[in-house]
C-alpha cells in the first residue's frame, strides 16, 4: 500500500461507491437478481480504504501514545481534485467593504480525525445495509434501482463529510437529500410514498435555504469558502475559514450579529437535515421508504449531517455563545418532544423514527455546550447511535419482512418464538438505546449528560468557565487580527459584543436542559421497551398478510443484525474505556481552536450521572414492563392513563396541522390569488390595450386584411421610413 498516496485513497472512498452506482445502472438488467454485486463491491472496497485511512490517521495523531494533558495538535490533509468554478476578480466596482475579492471553488477533499471516523461509519453501516438488502429487497422489480441509489448515497455522504469547502458541503448536502428523496419515493406507485418524498425534499429545502445564505455570508465575511488555507499564484496566503492560520488566532472569528446570523442559519440547515424542531416533520413520513434505506439514511448517517455541520464549524459557534446555547435548547427540546410522541406510536418504524429525532436532539444538546467534552460526546453518540439504531431499524425490517409488510405492533406479538435471532439482536439494540450499562448507548449518553451537567454546575466539575466559556474569545469589531474580516461586519458586530441570545446562556438554562435530558432518558427506555414487549412478548400472533410462512429472515439479513448487535454491545465500553475516540477527535482542526481546546477536561467516569441515568432507564423499562410485558399487544394501552395528553402526543403535537394551516394553506391561497390576478388583471389589461388599435382600425377597415405577414411588412417598412427620415434630418 506504500505506493498509493493518502490523497488517492481519500478520493477512492467516494469514488468506489460512485463507480458501483454507475455500474449498477449500466448493468442492472444484465445482472438481474445479482444487481447488488457492483454496489456491494464498491461500498466494501470503500470501507476497506476508509479503515486504512482511519488507522493511518490514528497513527499520525498518536492515539494512546500521548498523555491526555498533552494539547492536541491539529491534523489534516487536503487534496484538490479539480477547479470547479472560479472568478479571479469577483469584487464589484465600488465595493471596498466586502472581503469577497475572489470566487474560487476547488473540488477539495480533506482528511482529519472527524472525517476519518465518519467515513468508516458511513461505509461500514452502508455495507451492512447493502448486504441486508440482498435479502430484504429480493424479488422487488426495482432491485437494481435500489442498489444504485444506496451506492449513490454512500458516495454523496462520503463527499459531504470529506469536502473541504462550504460550497461543496452545500452541493452534497443537497445531493444526499436527493438520494433520500428518491429512496423515500422508491415505491412511487404508493401515493403516500410519493407524498412523503416530496415533503422530505421541501422541508429540507427550507434548511438548505439556511445553508445557502450562511454560505453567502461566510464568503462576504471571510473572503473564501475553503476550510483549509490556500496559497494564491502570487504567493499570498488566503486563510481558510477553518484553516490553521485562523484557528491559531483566538479572535479570528466574527461574533456579534453577523456571526450569530451565520450560526443560526447553520442551525436552521441542521434542523432540516437532522430533523430537529421545528423542521422534524419529514422524518416520520420518510418511513414510507424501504426499511434498509430508513436504516442507513434516516437513522445512521444522513440525518447526522447536521451534527457534523455544527461540530465542523465549532470555532464559528464558539464566537457566538448565544447561538450555541440555542443549539442545546433546540436539541434538548426536540429530544423531549420526540420522545413524548414516541411513547404512543403503534407503528414500529415510527417509534424508531421518533426515537431517531430524539437521539439526534441529544447530540445537539451536547454540541451546544461548546466544550470539547460536548463535541466529542456528540460524535461518540453519533457513532454508537449509528450502530444500535441501524440495528433496530433492520430488526424492524426483519419483522416487517416476516409479517408480510405489516408494521403495526398491535397486529402481531410474541414474535420471539417465530424469529429468535431478530428478537435477540433487537433486544441488544433496545438495551443500547435505553442506555443500560454496559451497552453502547449507556456510555455515550453518560458523556452527553456530563457535558450538560458541567455547564449547569460548573463548580462541581472544578472548572471555571464563566457563563460563556468561549465568549471571551468572541471577536469584536475592534480586535480583528485578520484583515479580511470586513469592516461592514465589524460595524454589525461592533455595537453589541454579543447578541440578545447570549442572555439565554446562564447556568439555570443548562440545569433545565440537563433535567430535560434526564427525563428524556426515562422516556426513551419506556418507548423502546414498550416496542420490545409489544412485538416480541405475549401470545404469539401473526397477521393474515404473513400467510403461513412467518419465519426468521435469511442469513443475509440476520448476519448484519448480529454484527451490529455485537458492536452495539461492546463499542461503547471499548471506545470509552480506552478514551481512544475522544482523544483522536481532539486533533480535528476545528476542535483545536483555542475556544474549544481550552475546555478540555481529563477523561472521567461520572458515577453520580451514571447512577441517575441508569435509574431513569430503569424507571422507563419497569413502567413499560408493567404495561406490556407478556400482554397481548392489541390490548389496552398505557396511554389510557395520559388523558388529554394522549391526543396531543398521538397527533404529534399537531405540528403538521399547524404548518398546514399557517404556511401551506395561506401560500396556496396567495398562489391562487396570484393566478387570478395574472389571468384577469394583467392579461385582461393587455387585452384591453390591444383592443384600442383594433377599434381605431375599424375606421380604416379596408387596410385590415387579417394577414399578419402584411402587418409585419408594414411594420418593417414603416420603421425603415422613419430611419431614413431621421438620418436625413440628422445629416441636415
Amino acid at each position: 500500500m506504500n505506493d498509493i498516496s493518502p490523497s488517492t485513497l481519500l478520493a477512492l472512498v467516494p469514488l468506489l461507491p460512485l463507480v458501483g452506482a454507475i455500474l449498477t445502472v449500466a448493468l442492472g438488467r444484465v445482472l438481474g437478481s445479482r444487481a447488488h454485486l457492483p454496489a456491494i463491491a464498491g461500498i466494501a472496497a470503500a470501507f476497506v480504504v476508509a479503515v486504512m485511512l482511519l488507522s493511518g490517521m490514528a497513527r499520525e495523531v498518536g492515539v494512546g501514545s500521548t498523555g491526555h494533558d498533552h494539547a492536541a495538535k491539529p491534523v489534516e490533509m487536503v487534496t484538490t481534485l479539480w477547479q470547479w468554478a472560479g472568478i479571479g476578480d469577483a469584487a464589484a466596482p465600488g465595493d471596498g467593504n466586502s472581503a469577497a475579492k475572489a470566487f474560487a471553488i476547488p473540488v477539495a477533499l480533506r482528511l482529519d480525525p472527524l472525517t476519518a471516523t465518519l467515513l468508516v461509519i458511513i461505509t461500514g453501516v452502508g455495507l451492512l445495509v447493502a448486504i441486508y438488502s440482498i435479502g430484504y429487497m429480493h424479488g422487488d422489480p426495482g432491485y437494481p434501482r435500489f442498489f444504485a441509489l444506496v451506492s449513490a448515497f454512500v458516495f454523496s455522504m462520503s463527499m459531504l463529510v470529506a469536502a473541504s469547502n462550504f460550497l461543496l458541503v452545500y452541493v452534497f448536502w443537497e445531493a444526499v437529500g436527493a438520494c433520500s428523496y428518491l429512496l423515500i419515493g422508491f415505491w412511487f406507485t404508493k401515493p403516500e410514498a410519493a407524498k412523503a418524498a416530496k415533503k422530505a425534499f421541501l422541508v429540507n429545502r427550507i434548511g438548505d435555504f439556511g445553508l445557502a445564505v450562511a454560505t453567502f455570508l461566510l464568503w462576504m465575511t471571510y473572503g473564501t469558502l475553503n476550510f483549509h488555507d490556500t496559497t494564491l499564484a502570487d504567493g499570498t496566503l488566503v486563510p481558510g475559514i477553518l484553516g490553521a492560520t485562523r484557528l491559531a488566532d483566538a479572535s479570528a472569528y466574527v461574533g456579534g450579529a453577523v456571526g450569530t446570523a451565520i450560526c443560526l442559519l447553520f442551525l436552521l440547515a441542521a434542523c432540516g437535515k437532522s430533523a430537529q424542531l421545528p423542521l422534524h416533520v419529514w422524518l416520520p413520513d420518510a418511513m414510507e421508504g424501504p426499511t434498509p434505506a430508513s436504516s442507513l439514511i434516516h437513522a445512521a448517517t444522513m440525518v447526522t449531517a447536521g451534527i457534523y455541520l455544527v461540530a465542523r464549524t465549532a470555532p464559528l459557534f464558539e464566537a457566538c455563545p448565544g447561538a450555541l446555547t440555542l443549539v442545546s435548547i433546540v436539541g434538548a427540546t426536540t429530544a423531549l418532544v420526540a420522545a413524548l410522541i414516541g411513547t404512543v406510536q403503534n407503528d414500529l418504524k415510527r417509534v424508531l423514527a421518533y426515537s431517531t429525532i430524539s437521539q439526534l436532539g441529544y447530540m445537539f444538546a451536547a454540541l451546544g455546550t461548546g466544550t470539547l467534552l460536548g463535541f466529542t460526546a456528540a460524535i461518540f453518540h453519533l457513532v454508537t447511535h449509528a450502530f444500535f439504531k441501524a440495528l433496530l431499524f433492520m430488526g424492524a425490517g426483519s419483522v416487517m419482512h416476516a409479517m408480510g409488510g405489516v408494521i403495526d405492533m398491535r397486529r402481531f406479538g410474541g414474535l420471539r418464538r417465530v424469529m429468535p435471532i431478530t428478537a435477540a439482536t433487537f433486544l441488544v439494540g433496545a438495551l443500547a438505546l435505553a442506555g443500560v450499562a454496559p451497552f453502547a448507548g449507556f456510555f455515550s449518553k453518560d458523556e452527553i449528560l456530563a457535558s450538560l451537567h458541567s455547564r449547569g454546575w460548573p463548580d462541581a466539575h472544578g472548572e471555571h468557565h464563566d457563563a460563556a466559556p468561549a465568549g471571551g474569545h468572541a471577536a469584536t469589531g475592534a480586535t480583528f487580527h485578520l484583515a479580511s474580516v470586513t469592516p461592514d461586519a465589524a460595524q454589525f458586530a461592533g455595537g453589541a459584543r454579543g447578541s440578545a441570545l447570549d442572555a439565554l446562556n446562564t447556568p439555570a438554562t443548562w440545569r433545565i436542559l440537563f433535567w430535560m435530558s434526564l427525563v428524556t432518558a426515562a422516556l426513551t427506555a419506556f418507548y423502546t421497551f414498550r416496542a420490545v414487549f409489544m412485538t416480541f412478548t405475549g401470545p404469539t400472533r401473526v397477521p393474515d398478510e404473513a400467510g403461513h410462512h412467518a419465519h426468521e429472515s435469511p442469513p443475509s439479513m440476520t448476519i448484519p443484525l448480529a454484527i451490529l448487535a455485537a458492536l452495539s454491545a461492546v463499542s461503547g465500553w471499548w471506545l470509552f474505556s480506552t478514551h481512544s475516540l475522544a482523544s483522536f477527535l481532539a486533533s480535528t482542526p476545528s476542535f483545536t481552536a483555542p475556544a474549544v481546546a481550552s475546555t478540555a477536561t481529563p477523561p472521567a467516569f461520572h458515577w453520580d450521572l451514571a447512577i441517575q441515568g441508569t435509574l431513569a432507564a430503569a424507571i422507563g423499562i419497569v413502567v413499560a414492563a408493567l404495561g406490556h410485558l407478556g400482554r397481548r399487544s392489541d390490548g389496552p394501552q398505557m396511554e389510557r392513563f395520559l388523558g388529554p395528553l394522549e391526543t396531543l402526543f398521538a397527533n404529534r403535537f399537531f405540528f403538521d396541522q399547524i404548518y398546514s394551516a399557517l404556511i401551506v394553506k395561506p401560500l396556496e391561497m396567495v398562489a391562487t390569488l396570484a393566478a387570478m390576478i395574472d389571468r384577469h388583471l394583467i392579461d385582461g389589461l393587455v387585452d384591453t390595450i390591444a383592443r384600442i388599435p383594433v377599434a381605431l382600425g375599424s375606421v380604416v377597415r379596408h387596410l385590415q386584411s387579417g394577414l399578419v405577414q402584411r402587418y409585419a411588412l408594414a411594420g418593417v417598412i414603416g420603421t425603415l421610413l422613419i430611419v431614413l427620415a431621421l438620418v436625413a434630418r440628422a445629416m441636415g
Binding site: 445502472v25 449500466a26 442492472g28 444484465v30 470547479w84 468554478a85 472568478i87 469577483a90 464589484a92 466596482p93 465600488g94 465595493d95 466586502s98 470566487f103 422487488d140 422489480p141 426495482g142 432491485y143 437494481p144 434501482r145 442498489f147 444504485a148 452541493v171 452534497f172 443537497e174 445531493a175 428523496y181 412511487f188 406507485t189 410519493a194 407524498k195 418524498a197 416530496k198 421541501l202 429545502r205 435555504f209 445557502a212 445564505v213 453567502f216 464568503w219 401560500l667 396556496e668 396567495v670 398562489a671 391562487t672 396570484a674 395574472d678 394583467i682 393587455v686 390591444a690 399578419v708 402587418y711 409585419a712 411594420g715 418593417v716 420603421t719 422613419i722 431621421l726 440628422a730 445629416m731
Partner: protein, 572 residues
C-alpha cells in the same frame, strides 16, 4: 484546414439550415419521412459545424482576450454616408447561445418526428429558417442585421404556433406576434437613436455594434434634464422590446399562452433560445451603450426580477396544465437571470450569463418531455396524468433529471447559475449599495433565495402527480405510442415500482428519436454541472466587458447617494 477560414465556417453554419430548408422543400413530394429525415440531417450537420466552430474558437488564443472570432463583413447597404454592413462574428457573449441554438434545433426536429403529420414541408422549412435566424441573431455584429435576424425569429414562430398549434393557436399566435413586435419596434427606434446620436458626434453613420459601444463611451447619451434624459428614454425604448422578450413580469402574459398552444418543437426553440434574446439584448446593447441609465434602472429591474421569481413560482403552483406550469416556471427562472444581470457584480452577471444556457437546456428538455407525454396520453392535465414512471421509466428518468436541473440540484447545471446569481446578488446587497437601498436589497435577495423553496415545491408537486402514483388514464389511445420501449436504450436499473406496476403491455417508453431529442441535453446538464469552469471561462471576458461600464456607473451612483446621506446626517 487552411482553406476553411473561421469566417467561412461561421457563414456556412448559419447558411446550412437555409440550404436544408430548400432541400426539405424540394423533397416535399416524397412524403413526410423524406422531409423530416432531411430536416434531421440538416440540423445534425449544422450542429456538427457549430460544435466544430466552438472547438476552433476555444482553441484560438486570441479569443481568450475577448476578441471576436470568425469575422464576416460585406458592405450591404452602402449609400453615401449610410453604411450598413453584413457583419458577423462570435464572441464570449454569443458563443454558448450560438451552440445552444444549434443543439436545440436538433431537439426541435426530433420531438416533431411523429407529432407533425399535417403539412410537414411547411413545418420543417419554417423550423430550419428559424434555426438560421437564431444562429444569425447571436452572430450579428451590426444593428440592422441584428434587427433583421431578430424579426426573422418572430415570423417563423408565428406561423409554427398559428398553423401547427393547439385549439387556441390563432389567438396565441396573434398575441405573441403583436406583443413582441410592438416591443421590438420600440427597441429598434431606440437603437436608431443611438446610431443617430453617434452619427451626430462622430460624423459617420455606422451601425456597427462595437463602434457604437466605443462611440457612446466617448460621447455618452445625455443623462441630464438639459439633454432631455435622452439616455434614459433610449434605455426605456430598448427595455420595451427586451422586457417583453425575457419576459419580465408584468409583460409576460403572452408566454404561457404561446407555450401552451405552440407545437412542441416551437416551445423548445421559444423557451430554449428566443427568451434569451431579451437578456442578450441587455448585455449587447443597453449595458455597454447606456451605462448611466442602466445604473438608475438597475435596482428596479433587480426588484422586478425578484417579483418574477416569486410571482412566477406562485402562479405555477396552482396550474392544472403541465405545460402551463412549466411556462410559468420559465417566468420564475428568467426572473433569476434578470436579477443576476442587474446585480452588476461579476459573480452574478457571469452566473446569469451561464444560466441562459442552463435554463435553455432544462426548459427545452421539460417542454420536449411534456410533448411526448401529450402524444401518449392526449392530455396535459396534471390531474388526469399519473404513474408514468411505471409505464415509461426512461421518460420518467429524463423528466426527473430536467426537474432536478430546473430546481437547481447541485451537480447539475441549474445549480451553478442559480448559486452564482444568488451569491452575487447577496454580495451586492451586503456591501455594494447605499444605506438607503441596503434593506430593500437584502429583503429582495432573501426573497429570491426563498424562491428556491417554492421552485422545488411546484416542480416536485408536478412530478408526484405526473410520474408517480398509480395510473389514472388508459395509457394510450389510437394513433400514438404503440411501440413498446426499445431494449437497446431501455437497459438499466430503472424498472417500475413494486406495487401495481404496469406490465409490459402498457409500456410506452421513449422511442429512438425521442431519446435523440433529450439525451444530448442531458449530457450538457451533467457536463456543465460538474465542470462549470469550462463554460464560465470563455464567456467571462466578454461579460466583464459588457457589464463593466454599468457596474462602474452603478457604483458611482451609490457612492454619491451614500455621500449625500452622510452629508444630510452630519449637517442637518
Amino acid at each position: 484546414m487552411n482553406g476553411f477560414s473561421p469566417s467561412s465556417h461561421l457563414l456556412l453554419t448559419i447558411a446550412a439550415p437555409l440550404v436544408g430548408a430548400v432541400i426539405a422543400w424540394l423533397l416535399g413530394s416524397r412524403g413526410v419521412s423524406a422531409v423530416r429525415q432531411s430536416a434531421a440531417v440538416t440540423t445534425l450537420v449544422t450542429l456538427a459545424l457549430a460544435a466544430w466552430l466552438i472547438v476552433r474558437y476555444l482553441a484560438d488564443p486570441a479569443t481568450a482576450s475577448g476578441l471576436p472570432y470568425g469575422l464576416v463583413e460585406f458592405p450591404w447597404l452602402t449609400e453615401g454616408i449610410f453604411d450598413v454592413r453584413f457583419s458577423l462574428g462570435l464572441d464570449g457573449l454569443s458563443l454558448w447561445m450560438f451552440g445552444l441554438a444549434a443543439l436545440l434545433s436538433v431537439t426541435a426536429v426530433f420531438v416533431s418526428w411523429d407529432a407533425i403529420k399535417d403539412r410537414p414541408v411547411g413545418f420543417y422549412v419554417l423550423l430550419l429558417v428559424l434555426e438560421a435566424a437564431m444562429l444569425g441573431v447571436f452572430a450579428a455584429r451590426d444593428v440592422i442585421l441584428f434587427y433583421v435576424f431578430f424579426e426573422f425569429t418572430l415570423v417563423p414562430l408565428f406561423f409554427l404556433i398559428g398553423i401547427w398549434g393547439h385549439d387556441e393557436r390563432r389567438k396565441a399566435a396573434v398575441k405573441f406576434f403583436i406583443y413582441t413586435l410592438t416591443g421590438s419596434v420600440l427597441t429598434f427606434l431606440g437603437l436608431l437613436t443611438i446610431v443617430l446620436w453617434h452619427a451626430n458626434h462622430a460624423g459617420v453613420v455606422t451601425f456597427d455594434i462595437e463602434s457604437l459601444v466605443d462611440g457612446t463611451k466617448i460621447h455618452p447619451l445625455p443623462m441630464t434634464a438639459a439633454g432631455g434624459w435622452l439616455q434614459m428614454v433610449v434605455f426605456l425604448a430598448l427595455l420595451a422590446g427586451f422586457a417583453v422578450k425575457v419576459p419580465i413580469v408584468p409583460f409576460h402574459t403572452w408566454l404561457p399562452l404561446a407555450h401552451v398552444e405552440a407545437p412542441t418543437g416551437g416551445s423548445v426553440d421559444l423557451a430554449g433560445v428566443l427568451l434569451k434574446l431579451g437578456i442578450y439584448g441587455f448585455l449587447r446593447f443597453s449595458m455597454p451603450m447606456l451605462p448611466e441609465a442602466t445604473a438608475v434602472a438597475a435596482p428596479w429591474l433587480f426588484g422586478l426580477g425578484v417579483v418574477g421569481i416569486v410571482y412566477g413560482a406562485l402562479v405555477a403552483l396552482v396550474q392544472t396544465d403541465l405545460k402551463r406550469l412549466i411556462a410559468y416556471s420559465s417566468v420564475s427562472h428568467m426572473g433569476y437571470i434578470v436579477m443576476g444581470l442587474f446585480a452588476l457584480t461579476p459573480v452574478a452577471t457571469e452566473g446569469a450569463n451561464l444560466q441562459l444556457v442552463n435554463h435553455g437546456l432544462s426548459s427545452a428538455g421539460l417542454f420536449a418531455l411534456v410533448g411526448m407525454i401529450y402524444e401518449r396520453f392526449h392530455t396535459r392535465n396534471i390531474a388526469s396524468l399519473g404513474g408514468i414512471a411505471s409505464k415509461a421509466p426512461w421518460l420518467a428518468v429524463f423528466f426527473m433529471l430536467f426537474t432536478f436541473s430546473s430546481i437547481g440540484l447541485p451537480g447539475l447545471n441549474g445549480f451553478v447559475g442559480e448559486f452564482m446569481i444568488l451569491l452575487g446578488s447577496f454580495q451586492r446587497a451586503w456591501s455594494g449599495v447605499s444605506p438607503a437601498w441596503q434593506f430593500a436589497y437584502l429583503v429582495m435577495a432573501l426573497l429570491a433565495v426563498a424562491g428556491v423553496v417554492l421552485g422545488a415545491w411546484y416542480m416536485l408537486w408536478a412530478v408526484e402527480r405526473v410520474l408517480f402514483g398509480g395510473s389514472r388514464e388508459p395509457p394510450r389511445s389510437a394513433g400514438h405510442g404503440h411501440e413498446p420501449g426499445h431494449a437497446d436504450h431501455g437497459h438499466g436499473g430503472h424498472g417500475h415500482g413494486g406495487h401495481g406496476a404496469a406490465d409490459d403491455h402498457d409500456r410506452c417508453d421513449l422511442r429512438w428519436h425521442e431519446l435523440a431529442a433529450v439525451l444530448p441535453l442531458a449530457v450538457f446538464v451533467l457536463w456543465i454541472g460538474l465542470t462549470p469552469a469550462t463554460f464560465l471561462a470563455p464567456a467571462a471576458p466578454a461579460v466583464r466587458k459588457a457589464t463593466a461600464a454599468s457596474a462602474v456607473a452603478f457604483a458611482a451612483r451609490m457612492q454619491a447617494e451614500t455621500t449625500a446621506t452622510v452629508a444630510r446626517i452630519t449637517n442637518p
